[in-house]
Symmetry: D3
């Protein structure tokens, strides 16, 4: 997933629109130096492409950049660049903050995925569209780096029936008719239905939903639904568990038999610490 030039500009301008006052005042900008980013803990890396691009656009030369999606151990080299003190100091915190945040998202994603797959090796983990505003593209890149996928990119790409839609319909409780209408309208799309009760879960399955999303079901409730629904020959409906899923409980939900875990947790992960050292050459 490629950020636009405009986005690289934007993230740079947040920090250096009017230049670096301290480096100007110290008059050290022309001196050559090297900047090295290393992991302070085991982490899944994300953001090294963007960090490289922003350092390059400041005039530094990127000597090495580990690849987005890589699991690295504490102490590992993540990025190394050379250039003037002006270029290195201009990009330092922006590159560091971007990688720390994006890698934090990727790392927590990986933890959830790992916890779930320990129990159910083929389970899918998908993340919601509740990314921090303005960060959706990079957030999605980070959760993909961590081994998850996007649940919905936005309102535009998927059909998901919520309870909030139903009162606007003539027959809010006729799931068969509603799902039939959706399938006729968009036969090529999977029809996803969020349900808040077991009865609705079974109803949605009977009505040929492609995905039945269980909103805030405890693991034992998920298990009951999983056992109660007979999958069709093509594996449908997919049973998705959503709401409050974390690295701590992902295993339980996996054990309960959900096909997919839907989570927003990674978007609010704590950044992971990345060490930066800057030295003259």
């Amino acid at each position: 997933m490629r950020l636009s030039e405009a986005d690289i500009d934007r993230v740079l301008e947040e920090d250096i629109r009017f230049g670096d006052l301290t480096v100007r005042a110290l008059a050290i900008g022309e001196k050559p130096g090297r900047m090295v980013f290393t992991a302070r803990r085991d982490l899944v890396l994300c953001g090294s492409d963007e960090a490289s691009r922003l350092l390059s656009s400041l005039g530094a030369s990127v000597i090495f950049a580990a690849q987005t999606g890589t699991c690295v151990e504490k102490g590992a080299l993540l990025l190394e660049a050379e250039g003037t003190a002006a270029a290195l100091h201009a990009g330092w915190k922006t590159a560091q903050t971007l990688m720390e945040w994006a890698s934090g998202v990727a790392t927590l994603t990986r933890e959830i995925v790992a916890a779930a797959r320990l129990v159910a090796p083929r389970i899918a983990v998908v993340c919601t569209r509740k990314a921090v505003p303005f960060t959706r593209q990079l957030s999605f890149k980070a959760i993909i780096a961590g081994g998850a996928e996007c649940h919905r990119l936005g309102l535009f790409d998927t059909i998901m029936l919520f309870d909030e839609h139903r009162p606007f319909l003539t027959k809010p409780n006729d799931l068969n008719a509603i799902i039939a209408k959706l399938k006729e309208y968009a036969p090529e799309r999977a029809i996803m239905v969020e349900v808040t009760s077991e009865a609705d879960a079974f109803g949605a399955a009977d009505a040929m939903a492609d995905v039945v999303q269980l909103e805030k079901f405890a693991p034992d409730m998920v298990a009951r639904v999983v056992h109660g629904i007979k999958k069709r020959v093509d594996g449908r409906p997919v049973i998705a568990a959503a709401g409050g899923i974390t690295a701590q409980n992902a295993g339980e939900y996996a054990k309960a038999g959900a096909d997919t875990l839907v989570t927003s947790a990674p978007f609010y992960a704590k950044p992971v610490d990345i060490q930066v050292r800057i030295n003259p050459l």
Copy 2:
């Protein structure tokens, strides 16, 4: 702090660039409805201006919006809007996610400020520039809503000497000369120095730094520095404690006598839950 029209566009487009497929499929877009946002917990509100603007730009009418910076109790009304089901559903999650995230930042900020001011009523809390990439403006709005201020807006507005600058100077350890140079270059700006040892703290104070920033000093170390430095008649230097400050330890740092607490914690706050109800009119 006013977000640009372009930013309102951008946050909307993250979710509805190609419209709302589900509402189109259900053919319920024209039906009138009301959407109500209420607090699920006590919180400091932020984002209601932006939520209002984005709902208005979708064609909904905002009936009520509580003001950014307000402390509200669980159950309080935050925002109410009327419009077509199309407009309400198009703006629902974007408005909710934006307010939940921004209010999460504001609320945690307020907690840190409150914890510190319980001990030291005149202490200032400032947040670093380590906001999530692409969110700096709205993040800053949120921490201000929570009662903090910005430490540095970027590299452009302040002079802050780091250890990372010094090896590029001819005499890296001559703090007197370095600070004199900075003051001559920018007499109108406060000169801030980050120090990592008590010795450097005292040296920076002697060299007439305006702000001495103690990086990752434990509260007792802060206290020693506070007691060891004699303030000048105008209250300088300001003693700032930075690194790892949270709502839990802010009181201790305040008790240690720091004038200012510097923190990045609020930027990674968990969103606060906001309930949304949508109903036909």
Copy 3:
């Protein structure tokens, strides 16, 4: 589907970035006038929202605007605005060209939909992502106004296996394994497979594809595939006919039994003529 403010700006700037030289030279800008857009033929309207927004942003008052998606008869009033001669002349051709082009797309879409539904009332028509560059959002709005939907919004929202993917796989011909891999990766998404032979069509159906897209099959070939594939209980796989579908042959493809018609034709429709009259008040 809402165009951003930036897009309204952009389309205006294409024509009036440096103002209207003729109106300036004639010195008639301040005179009040009325501008009326009427249909020169039966058409499906699209673009009236954008035309209204751009006229408003020029300072004119929109008195009436027919709704996007409406079928109107020759002679019908589409848009009426009042304002200074400067505002009306500034917006005239931009509004006209936009509505003529977008309505042209919508009208041809409706013709294809009508031709297909005459034969198969529940058939779906979807348009490809081959819209004219830079126009994807408005093009999609127009084809939806005409009664179709989007096939794929881009590469990001759907899984579609092409022959061009296969040589990069270890076992290019093992459709069962390929589709199983896709389903495991993205259980919530419909798996679409483009096929170029009848054998592959049956193979994809056997391998549990959700959508089998027949690329450039003649109607009789489509019919053979339709009869040869036994639908699963949930109606899968959907049989989509793609490649060269127009208003002329849509009926034949519908008769052949395709569930969905996939077409790019509307994107290159001729604009429909809209008459504009401007008069002083």
Copy 4:
């Protein structure tokens, strides 16, 4: 004519903002490959610069790109690029659609120009400002590639008197006074007058218009005007025929003696087919 970086970003983002789901699911992104674009018919190429830039910005290497404006024969190589399967698949349809559309515009332009110049080798063909919204710059590049020029870039660069201007003037029918006023206001600009009757055509010529544009005159009417107007020593007024001009009738209008043909037809040309082959290296 150079598209901005922002426009290259924009056209890419229409298709791959959130990446390529299929290639991710297939896990083939890292494999190296080659992509080759060839002409499926004789065509005038346009868009190869932009296709090259977008492929490069995705990380592919462009080995060869034929030049915009070149007439190529069926089967000719247009563009060749190497890179990862991820890069090639990400750019494939965007590059193809852009070149097919832009070359379609260029090719039809060339046909009109050729038809006219067969009869009148020095005749000029110019295209109106009725390009598809959002595409004006690239549309103009395409018609120039096809051998035409721009009639008016927008409202800002030329003076063109329409019937729609006149009722706002005190003496709507006094062409002498109107044109004198225009010439005094803008002595450096050519004064163009659109006329809808032969009488007005002669009136405009008498009033020293630089260009007399005949709106929807049949070829024989054009011929009458051409013979009735005595050119001034500098070749003015230029006689322009506008309205409904196509490759089919361009020769007739040329034979009628028009100096310039004004057409919108190329903007709505059908795309020309370009074949794309993608193979592993």
Copy 5:
């Protein structure tokens, strides 16, 4: 000439991207107030539309705004707005600086126009494309407000032969052939030729140039050219004097008989002083 929303955003963001620190610190933002802009000298106003738009977008109400292009006397009211202290202080200097600068451009333009027209009432004054970078649109609006017009909008809208073009031609000195080629290529455009000698001026006239632009000719040289060239029946060629024209010498150039004066001087005019008073309500 309408600035885009994006440009209004941009000019605002230059000054208040992260809000108004002083007003926040003083906690006076909520107090209502009135802001009044008056002329400190006679001036031609420009920028009041943009000032109004930016104040409105900050939430202030514009009570009165004098019209762009108006000549006002010292002491005249230019703009009056009411709103919170926050809104008024946020917009104060941006609105003031914009109006002072744009009115400075307009006022100097008017002085040049007036000086020239005192001698030659029908002379045209046009400004070059040497506006300050990033300001072309607003600069052009200002010179039009001052009674001038644009010479060339850019490289795209006019044909102007410079000496710098000629060495790239096969026969650099054959003005007849060069101009004939230009006329054939673009019969609808006026052909402008910059000349640096009297001989070339006569040569360009003989070759049927539409505009002969005399680059840095003294007034007496201009007069000699004017008398030596016999105008054609339609008033061509237009004689334009360019290079170093100011309010001081415009009268002399007008007296010398030039049809048009071409100047860059207004773009670098000193801003005119505008007084601002802000008071609580």
Copy 6:
């Protein structure tokens, strides 16, 4: 200070959005050439980075570019580029105008700085935020190139108390309380106070302002304030002289003992002449 790609695009598009009509008409675009920029007078260079970037983005090769901030003598080489006639002509005037304007700003800045430092070698010169709208970033780069710094970047980065703030306060004349409030709110920032009387100057100093800015004080008034205020041990308050400062009177203000001169004059400097020669290779 780095301009964004979007800004390089923007400045290019001002001049060549729809290409170069003259070069197209002359059909000389493919011929190779060289373009050389030299100084027509002694000057301080600014804009060569941006000129280089825009020429490169047009496809020309920059052979040499003198560094921003360099003092060069009349006749010195500033920039040399090679490329097609199309590229060179497309960038010629944009590059020239940008460098002439930016160097004009830098050169006048240097004159003011030099005049002041002749008298007071350690005096600082800072420029206000009254840059021409849309040019703030490049204007700031130019004044820094000339040896000055930014006074305030905008409303966001500094605290500056104006008379216009005071009537909104409960006790407008209690400078002690006001400044104490500002220092408590923002202990890390320097508190700047603009004063319009000597009494207020002394009051601000007594109230521990960090910077006392004397608005439109004559040099002798400045001297009286300088002598009347006893500096604190850290050199505070800084005495800044503002209002009407130019290269002519900067020496007098320096002699009066001001620590800082605040000026807007450079923003409206006349461009410096730069010669451009273009020749075929």
